[in-house]
Symmetry: C2
Subunit: 335 residues, 2 copies
Amino acid sequence: MKSHTLLMPLDMHLHLRDAVMLENVAPLSAYSFSGAIVMPNLVPPVETAEDVIAYKARIMAAVPNDSFEPYMTLFYKNYNKAFLESVADEITAIKLYPAGITTNSEGGISSFDVEEMRPTLQAMSDMEIPLCVHGETDGFVMDREAEFMSIYELLASNFPKLKIIMEHITTKEAVDMLDKFDNLYATITVHHLILTLDDVVGGMMKPHLFCKPIAKRPEDLDALLSVALAAHPKVMFGSDSAPHPQHKKESCGCAAGIFTAPIALQLLCEIFEQFDKLDNLQAFVSDNAQSIYGICPEFKEVTLEKRPFVVPENYSGVVPMYAGETLSWAIENVD
Amino acid sequence: MKSHTLLMPLDMHLHLRDAVMLENVAPLSAYSFSGAIVMPNLVPPVETAEDVIAYKARIMAAVPNDSFEPYMTLFYKNYNKAFLESVADEITAIKLYPAGITTNSEGGISSFDVEEMRPTLQAMSDMEIPLCVHGETDGFVMDREAEFMSIYELLASNFPKLKIIMEHITTKEAVDMLDKFDNLYATITVHHLILTLDDVVGGMMKPHLFCKPIAKRPEDLDALLSVALAAHPKVMFGSDSAPHPQHKKESCGCAAGIFTAPIALQLLCEIFEQFDKLDNLQAFVSDNAQSIYGICPEFKEVTLEKRPFVVPENYSGVVPMYAGETLSWAIENVD
């Protein structure tokens, strides 16, 4: 049987939520990933060293001993340098949300005034703390990410030593930015390597394929695949796996977010094999992230086999992408 | 209190379905409209004179005596002239669906071969039977209508005396076609005078605002408003009101269709008043259709008043657009 082994898979953009949801979903990521960049958009957001330490402790309590490294993030505000120095040891990155742009982002940034942000961003640059950005304006849904490119340009050119990660990119405009600025990087989800808007609303409307940023056009999908399959050195896998209870997805107003954590590696094998690029998956799912973030995850070896895997209908009340459907790769063994 | 009276309102694109659903929704249209063009996409579709006569009888049985005229349509196939002559007296138009493009359209046309369609379309032209068209390709969801323009051009130029109605148009490309071909007309829904894709998937995902063709971009909305508010003489109101049971809208795979029949006139008053064009609403909602189709509806006078109207949460299990929300116009009286 055909198999493929991945070393230290990393999920560079993950929502673990809190409380019961955290307890339900964290073990699923911990099973197949060495570590993950954990998003800080709790209610209230993760904003202090104490918040970070306490949240990390709750995550560690939810996963089997030493099986998983949560790389913690802080919710971006215009912090002063003294504060950043006090929290630097506890975090791997700081995550910036435009205000109100996605789930629990109400406390985010409402105007991108470089001079107002300069003390924080310059300090982050000096201290080598990467800035992760949810790059969308509040414009028309299909244009939001492309419109945000001017803000990436502003940030990247004003802080040329600051590592800026364009999170969960979905457009060819964002892909094009990778080669324009040395300090711009990107994460790409697995669902954005599969979906276009057609899959979300082209036939029936599919709440479990609805996320922010929304899946875009076929030419955008092609651009994302081109850099992911080539394991472009500035591109990393980040699932943006976002669990919501089933009733919040299947209702009059469906929350944004696709739950992929437990099926991400299987799907990635399927995609990379389909394009005959399995050899590049290791770089996309781990090596690039290690280089970009300068992190050294604990050893973990995940072996997948090419055999049918029926995706469970739900994981503790959370419906995953492709619930009930059959994938062509399964996780065989984790060491 | 401000009031506005409409004479013989007509809904030039309506789905009444069949059986219990028909009995539930037909009286709602019959209350405020003089008549409606009734779509033939039942299961199986309305394809024979007997089908038409029987369906019309079921509709008439579902509405109060003589309160409503159902203008019947036939599901387009490449019919021969003898057949068309036998059915002509029973129908007002023939509705063409590309195969599989929307609810119950599996038996539609899969290739637009003009020579194959010529006998039917020439006979319809000679007999002055209008052709209503669901104009979408099977392409990317945001491009489907614009891509279909070349087929409208083909049909309009090959059959210059055939009245072709571009149904439920949603794009500026379709609006532009109105002035390019004398024999192209259009219906516009009330929801496409309000929504863009932003309303459907820009915030939460909204199944009750999901329809085909899907609401498009802001510039498309502007183009639709420009011809509707001006009561462009080739443009008519057609609700495309499409009832689905609540469970088929709020689920893993939500069916396409927005139910607006009982709130359409109220919403139209709101929109036309907002743009100070209430005087043009009569032409948009009745006079243009009478001229284009050459129909003379029975007298009906509908008076609306500007006062709050709370949209019911559902009508016999069908959730309408804006359920539970408050509109600024209400139907006061129908004579």
